[in-house]
Every structure is written in structure tokens, then in C-alpha cells.
Amino acid sequence: MLKPMNIEATDTGKTHRWGVLVVEDDSRARAFFEASVQRSASLFWLGSAGTVHEALAWMAQATIIPDVLLVDLGMPDGSGLDVIREAVARFPGCEPLVISVFGDEENVLASIEAGAVGYIHKDAAPEDIAQTIVEMKAGASPISPMIARRVLAKYRSLQLAGTLAAAPPEAALGNTTTAPSLLSAREHEVLTLIARGFSYAEIARLKGLSVHTVQTHIKNLYGKLAVHSKSEAVFEATRLGLLSHPG
């Protein structure tokens, strides 16, 4: 099912062009995404996979690191979450986006915790899809008020438990020692406004920030959520005796 890669795309265009890999079981959707990517001057088409298995095989043999990964969660032979995890582990520069029909919080949050940096709507217009990808590479991350609300609720419960900062398993991960505080005050402020329905532009105006700064806050937050979910898993595993205590 692998499509041939569009190799010429890399050296045309003055700005940097991002290579896109699509993992999607619906062939019409694949074609739609391919068309959207091909039409954009900032993107080039790396290929697509119709099953989890194909996607993992593609990544195992990849010669070109994908800059962007579009993943549908509901695959015939497994979950797109596995593809996201593998991609993030294998290619640190790769930024996965989840293809979602509804942008519903359950799936989106699960994807973000697996390492995705955002999501795109399946029913978006073709030019919107390319634009979302480019904006994401420029530092933006879409977030819905429902997801913001959910993240805030989670943050509140974590604060209540007060376990995050003190959790020793952070050390076991080595590179995740920066995780202690999930939300900075500014991030919290931005999230609260998003949960109340304000757009990035409105928030930027209200808070005297640039839109880009607002977007960066959200993207950073996504990264923290992924890291936090990892440390949480390690903490749980240590607690359950699956891992030996680092100390």
C-alpha cells in the first residue's frame, strides 16, 4: 500500500518543506490528504500506510525522517496510538497529528499523551489541512475549549493530590526532570480563556501577547502532557513493583 515518495519536492521551493506521512485506512481519505499535501508549497508527500503494521514497517525502513505524521486512531489492525508512540520514539523531530472526525476530548487527549502535538478535523477543507500542518510546524497547536477544560480539571486534581512535584520516578527517566510543574501561571491563564471560548487572537489582545506566543504556550503544554503521562506511567509501575525503585 506504500505510495512512492515524492522526492523532487525536497529541493523545490525557497522555504523549508515538510515531509508528510499519512496513516489512514480509508483510501478516499488518503487520497484527499494526498491531494491537500500535494497542493501545498510548504509540504511534500512521503507516503501513506493503510494499517498499523504497514506504518511500523515503513518507519523501520525509512530513509527520510517524516516531519509530520497524520494518524487515524481507528485502524483495522490496532490503534493509531501505537504508531504515534513508535514515531515519537524513533524520530525525535517528527510531530504527529491525529486525524479526528469529531475532535472529541477522549481521543485527542489520549493521542496527546501518546506524543501527538495536535489534531486535524477530517472534514476540514483541503487548504485548511495544509494550513493547519504548516501552522503546527510554525509552533501552533489547535485546542478546543472542551479539551482545555479537561486539562484544567486534570491539573486541579493533580494539584490537589500534590504528588507530581514529589514523585521520585521522574529521576528514572533522566531527561524528564523538567516535568515538575504541569502548568505555568501564564499557561493556566491561557487555558482558562480557551475553555471560556476565546480565540487565540482574542486572548492575545486581552493579555497583550502575540498570537504566536499564545500558540507556543499551547504547544508546550501538549509536550508537558505527553511527558507527564510517561512519568505517571513510570510512577504507577514503580508503585506496583513492576520497576525497581531508582533510589
Binding site: 472534514d123 476540514a124 485548511d128 475549549p145 472542551m146 475553555a195 471560548g197 476565546f198
Partner: protein
């Protein structure tokens, strides 16, 4: 636990029996002593004095028919030589008051010979030490002068004189122990048993459930019997009673009768006769024993004619004998340990009582003591045993009912828990059913209706692709809103508006409509449940959809505020407007369903759809 108490009581009984059997052995004469039996007596009764030889013991009441008077006993004895060790005189019984003289020297005074009906020194044995120089070889003369009150067992027993060592240590001290110390111990025992019974009577209140009376009268009669007996026995220790002999004598006889009556009442309850109407009459003759005794004793003492009391006691013993017989028969018919013990004690006591009556009231024997005082110990032990058994049974029953109660409570708890679980299950099922109904209605009203209108549009062939696209987009938007509504906290209108904006803004932007967001932070509207939240979503979707389709507006503004806590939502557009009198039916119905006040105003350039929550 009770078995141990029972064994302890049995051991006590055995010990009492052995002590009783051992008593006569203490009366054996000692070596080197002289027992004085014969002499001369001068008696003065009602002013007349007689002289006569005397053979001790001398029982005053028997000699003079209850008349009070004086007597001087002269008891000669001969010594071979002047004694080298100290001597003493042992008087087992003498009274009521007396003086002891030896060779015309006054040795000891017990009470005042000049006044009668006061102290009574006949109750305890006496010991008088003899100064060495008073005894001389040859003829010696011991003189005992008494004043005897009526019916007080006055007189003089045989007197023993001899070296202090056997007389004092063997004779006097053992007699004193039996008469005086015995009385103290018996009194203490009776007081203890009585107090236990009284405490039980006072504290064991209940037990409506067991069918008993509020207090168990068995305990009361046990306590009364023991207290009467304690006073009666204590008299043996009190040489100088607080009342004159007449009143004191009546009181003591009354206590004796009270003891007998209470003991019989105890048996009466123990046999269960109080529950049998045919036996109830027994209470009257039993109650009669006490006043009868008071009258008979008062007569005997006042008139100084002891046979009144002797006769009455005979009657009383007869009645008690009948009662004990009946009780014994009842016990044999329906035996249990308690009844058998009490029946045995009652028979023994009856036997001893009869013996005492014969010996003390009729015979000339003097210096004898009553036996009933000892047999009453059996009675006390049996009584204590019964009382303890009764208490034990009651407490076992109480423990049983506490356990039963706890079991019932636990049973109720289990029932409640299972009922609760069943109710919870029903509630869960109901919630699921409601949820299913809601989703079905949702699909019918939202996606279903949009898809069916898309199909109709296709079938009619008249719809433009733009119209068809809008219908399908509406359908997908409805689906997204339905998914959002699943997670919307009930009442959180702010979250609902935010999600609505997020879903619909791309459509507005695509339609070239400027969007304005003027949503304050508003409090939750408590009465909006999940269903009502969904209705509100539909309502707002409808209003915005109308603007999209018909208004040809350039700007759409959403406002939310809560002046004075009442939430108000407004959808405002600058389109062409419509006839505000013609309220779209879908809007009106949904607003009514969630209890929101719907207000429309419309003119070209400004249309406001307002929802108010009071």
C-alpha cells in the same frame, strides 16, 4: 462460671455442717477444775423471800412462771491447798444482771441489780478472774446474786472454777466463740446475702419481655428474710439493748417471725405458687404470723406470762410445718436444684426450730442455745444459690436477647444493603434507558433529520449543491455538538457556549460572517440537566443556523451575562430581520422545555434572540 459458684456454695454448706457437728465436743470438762452444781438459793419474788437448796442449772422462768425477781445463789466448794496459779470462774449463762462474790468479796458486777428490764448479760458466757489471796484451803463460798427479768431466760447455769489455763482458754473461750463470735459471723453472713438480694431486687428491673413483673419479688423476700435474721442474731451480741426489755423483746420476736414469713414467701415464689390462684390464700396466714407474734410477745412480756408466746410459737411452728410439708411435696413433684436445696434447708430449720421450742420454751434446760441460728445458714446459702442462679439465668437470657437483637440488626442491614443494591441497579438501568432515549431522540432530531432532508434534496433534484452541502455540514456539526454534550457538566452554560463557538465558527467564517464574542463568566444554571443542556445546544444551533441561512448578516454576536445572578444569553445579528411576532416554533418549544424565557426582537440591521434563566 455459675458451676464454680455452685460448688463454692456447696463447700460452704458442708463446712457449716461439720462445724455444727463439732460443737458439742467443745463442752468437754477440763482437768483440775471444779464444777459447782449444788448450793442454797434465796429467791425474792413479789416481795416474798424463800430459801431452798438448789441443783443447778436454775431456770428462773421455769421456776417462777415468768415473774421477775432476785436470787442469791450460795455455792460452797472445798480446796486442799491455796492455788499457786491464777484461777478464774467460768459462768456459761447467768442473768439478766448479776454480781459475783467470792468469800464475801465482790469480784465482778454485770449490770445494776437495782433496776430491771435493762441490760441482759445472759447472752454471752462470762469469765471472772479470781485474785489469788481470796482462795483459801478448806471451805470457800461463791455467791452469785441475780436479778431476773420476765421471760428473758434469766437464771444461773452450772459454774466452773479452776486454774485460769483450762477454765479460761478451753471452756470460756470456746463457749464465747460459739455464742458471741458465732453471732457476729452469722449476722455478717446474713447481711451479705441480704444485701446481694436487695441489690438484685433494686437493679434487676425489667423485663417486660420475659413476662416477669417489673422487679422479681423473689429477691425482695430473700433480702427481707436475711435482714430480719441479721437483726435477730445480732441480739446475741448486744448485752445492753437500746430499748427496754419489753419493747426489745417484742422487736426481736417480730424479727424472728419476719424471717420465718419472708422465708416462706421466698418458698412461695420459688414454688411458683404466686402464679396459681388456688395457692394465693396462703399469703394471708403467712402475713398473719407477724402481727400474731407481736401480739403474743407483747402479752407475754406485759403480763409477765411467757406461756402466751410459747403457745403462739407452737401454733406458728404447726403452720410452718404444714407449709414446709406442702413445699416439700411440690418440690418432689417438680424438682430442680434450687427447690431441693431450699426444701432441705426448710426441713432442717423446721426440725431445729421445733427442738429449740421444746428446749427453750418448755424444758428446764438452761444454758442451751438455739440451733436455728445455725440451720439458718443453710437457708441463707440455699437462698444465695437460688438468687445467683436466677440472676445468672436472667443475664444469660439478656445476653441471648442482645445477641438476638444484634443478629436482627445485622439481618436488617443485609436486607437494606440488598434492597439498596437492587434500587441502585434499577436506577442504573433507568439512567441507561434515559440515556438511550436521549441519544435516540438526539439522532432523530439532529443528524437523522438533516440526513433525511439531504436525501429529499437530492431526490427532488432541485437543491443546489451549496444547499446540500449546508445540510450535510449541519448534520456533522450536530453530531459534534452531540459528542460535546456528553461531556458538558450539567448547568455549565459557559462551557456549552465555548464548545458551540468552537464547532460553528469555521462555518461562520466560511460564510463570511464576522464573529463577536462577548461572553462573561456566568454562574452555572442549576436546573439544566444533561437533557436540558442538549436542548439549549439545539436551540442556539437553530438560532445561529437561521442567521447563517436566512439573515444575510455580516456580523454575529454572542452575549452572555448574569446581572444579579440571572443568566441571560443573546444571539445578535445585523441581518435583514424577520417578523418577530412569528416566533419559530422549534425555538419556542425548546425554550419552554428548559424553562427559559425566550424574547425576540427584530428589525432590519438588528435581530436579537434572548434567553433568560431566572
Amino acid at each position: 462460671m455459675f458451676g464454680r459458684a455452685g460448688r463454692a456454695l456447696a463447700a460452704l454448706w458442708l463446712a457449716a455442717t461439720l462445724l455444727l457437728a463439732a460443737q458439742p465436743a467443745a463442752a468437754a470438762a477440763a482437768e483440775g477444775t471444779i464444777e459447782l452444781r449444788r448450793g442454797t438459793v434465796w429467791t425474792t419474788v413479789d416481795g416474798a423471800t424463800h430459801k431452798a437448796p438448789v441443783e443447778l442449772s436454775y431456770h428462773w422462768d421455769r421456776q417462777h412462771g415468768g415473774r421477775p425477781g432476785y436470787a442469791t445463789f450460795e455455792l460452797p466448794f472445798t480446796l486442799d491447798a491455796e492455788p499457786e496459779v491464777p484461777w478464774g470462774i467460768f459462768v456459761p449463762r447467768a442473768g439478766s444482771v448479776l454480781e459475783v462474790w467470792l468469800n464475801d468479796a465482790l469480784l465482778q458486777v454485770y449490770g445494776d441489780l437495782a433496776s430491771g428490764n435493762g441490760p441482759d448479760y445472759a447472752k454471752a458466757p462470762l469469765y471472772v478472774p479470781v485474785p489469788g489471796h481470796l482462795l483459801k484451803p478448806g471451805e470457800n463460798r461463791l455467791q452469785v446474786r441475780i436479778r431476773a427479768d420476765s421471760a428473758r431466760r434469766g437464771g444461773l447455769s452450772r459454774v466452773t472454777i479452776g486454774p485460769a489455763t483450762p477454765v479460761r482458754t478451753d471452756l470460756f473461750e470456746s463457749a464465747y466463740a460459739w455464742r458471741f463470735t458465732g453471732s457476729v459471723l452469722l449476722t455478717a453472713f446474713s447481711l451479705i446475702v441480704g444485701s446481694i438480694a436487695l441489690a438484685l431486687w433494686l437493679t434487676q428491673v425489667d423485663a417486660a419481655a420475659t413476662g416477669w413483673r417489673r422487679r422479681d419479688s423473689l429477691y425482695f423476700w430473700a433480702a427481707l428474710a436475711e435482714f430480719c435474721w441479721a437483726i435477730r442474731v445480732a441480739d446475741g451480741v448486744i448485752a445492753e439493748p437500746p430499748l427496754p426489755w419489753g419493747a426489745w423483746g417484742v422487736l426481736m420476736a417480730t424479727c424472728y417471725a419476719g424471717w420465718a414469713t419472708s422465708a416462706m414467701m421466698f418458698c412461695y415464689h420459688l414454688a411458683g405458687w404466686h402464679r396459681r390462684p388456688r395457692m394465693r390464700w396462703l399469703r394471708w396466714p403467712m402475713a398473719g404470723v407477724v402481727p400474731g407474734t407481736v401480739v403474743a410477745t407483747a402479752l407475754a412480756l406485759h403480763r409477765e406470762e411467757p406461756y402466751w408466746l410459747t403457745g403462739w410459737l407452737a401454733l406458728e411452728i404447726g403452720f410452718v410445718a404444714l407449709f414446709v410439708g406442702a413445699f416439700a411435696v411440690a418440690t418432689i413433684r417438680r424438682p430442680n436444684v434450687g427447690r431441693l436445696l431450699v426444701a432441705a434447708a426448710a426441713l432442717v430449720t423446721l426440725g431445729f426450730g421445733t427442738r429449740d421450742w421444746l428446749v427453750i420454751r418448755l424444758s428446764d434446760a438452761y444454758g442451751e442455745t438455739t440451733w436455728v441460728r445455725y440451720s439458718s445458714v443453710f437457708f441463707g446459702i440455699a437462698l444465695l444459690l437460688i438468687v445467683l442462679r436466677r440472676f445468672h439465668a436472667a443475664s444469660v437470657q439478656a445476653r441471648g436477647s442482645v445477641a438476638a437483637l444484634a443478629e436482627r440488626v445485622a439481618q436488617r442491614e443485609r436486607e437494606l444493603a440488598s434492597t439498596f443494591a437492587a434500587l441502585e441497579q434499577v436506577a442504573r438501568d433507568q439512567a441507561r434507558t434515559h440515556e438511550r432515549e436521549r441519544i435516540l431522540r438526539d439522532m432523530h432530531d439532529g443528524v437523522g433529520s438533516h440526513i433525511s432532508s439531504a436525501i429529499r434534496q437530492l431526490q427532488s433534484g432541485q437543491a443546489s449543491p451549496e444547499e446540500l452541502l449546508r445540510t450535510l455540514c449541519d448534520s456533522l456539526d450536530q453530531l459534534k455538538l452531540a459528542i460535546d454534550s456528553i461531556h458538558l457538566p450539567p448547568g455549565d452554560v459557559g462551557a456549552l457556549l465555548a464548545a458551540l463557538r468552537y464547532r460553528l465558527e469555521p462555518r461562520l467564517a466560511a460564510a463570511g460572517i464576522q464573529f463577536e464574542w462577548a461572553v462573561d463568566e456566568v454562574p452555572d444554571v442549576k436546573r439544566l440537566d444533561a437533557q436540558a443542556m442538549r436542548q439549549l445546544q439545539f436551540l442556539l444551533f437553530e438560532a445561529i443556523s437561521n442567521v447563517l441561512q436566512h439573515a444575510q448578516a455580516r456580523t454575529l454576536r454572542i452575549e452572555a451575562e448574569a446581572p444579579a445572578g440571572a443568566v441571560q444569553l443573546r444571539v445578535i445579528d445585523d441581518g435583514q430581520g424577520f417578523d418577530a411576532q412569528q416566533v419559530p416554533r422549534a425555538l419556542a418549544e425548546r425554550a419552554a422545555a428548559i424553562g427559559a424565557r425566550l424574547a425576540l426582537e427584530s428589525r432590519p440591521g438588528r435581530t436579537v434572540v434572548q434567553l433568560g434563566f431566572a
